[in-house]
Subunit: 141 residues, 2 copies
């Protein structure tokens, strides 16, 4: 079960310029920045709203580390823009098992390390109407 | 202030096929379907999670009414996929005024009718890193 939209991922050529915009004009708060070598990105998670019910809703800005990375190829082909959507789930391992049984094509058959300590897995956009879809099980507090 | 992600909009060629997938495999609930002639779409809003804190988080599926519509042109150019992101705001008129004053390019300088009775307005993807961005002030209960 997808419980909420955890984040949207936006591919940008210049993380610092995008960060300045989203924190300045839109007033979002930086929850964390990190380099993820496995995914080939430098990224920032920006939190929407105040703490409470809205906690855990993020804009994720993604700058490729190199052109020969998934986000680098996305930028070269389509330019900056919406790259993927991440949905929160309570139990990512159970969810992957059930989706695989339903015939959904998984990019990650096992959860891996994501932003802010979450466990994440990507589903292939083929069969999902062109949408690169991510499942996110947030880190325990 | 953007308080949360209200929805992601996904452009699809066949609403019924996409609906079957999102309600079946992903277990989402249909909150409403409507035809919006002004935007040239037939659309469905699918609610994530249970009622409560997660209420108001949706996947919006958009099928163009005709090829010569914004979503029809998007499909012809890029194929199915993520079309826009909608952020919740408390006061859309005040938000538009403040964004315009900050130099953000508005598609809608005044709020118009959106899904589920909301007031909505789009911001131009130029200057927003290629992301078509929507503000959503939900209808009062």
């Amino acid at each position: 079960v997808l419980t909420r939209i955890d984040h949207v991922g936006i591919a940008v050529p210049d993380l610092d310029a995008a960060l300045a915009h989203y924190t300045g004009t839109f007033g979002l708060t930086v929850a964390g920045t990190e380099v993820n070598e496995a995914q080939g990105v430098r990224e920032a998670m920006l939190e929407l709203g105040a703490a409470g019910p809205a906690a855990g809703s993020y804009v994720q800005l993604l700058e490729p580390l190199r052109p020969d990375t998934p986000v680098g190829r996305f930028l070269a082909k389509r330019g900056p823009g919406l790259h993927h959507v991440g949905y929160a789930v309570d139990d990512i391992a159970a969810e992957l098992e059930s989706l695989a049984a339903a015939g959904i094509e998984l990019i990650d058959s096992r959860p891996r390390h994501g932003s802010l300590g979450a466990s994440i897995a990507f589903l292939h956009p083929r069969g999902l109407f062109g949408v690169l879809t991510e499942l996110v099980e947030a880190a325990r507090d």
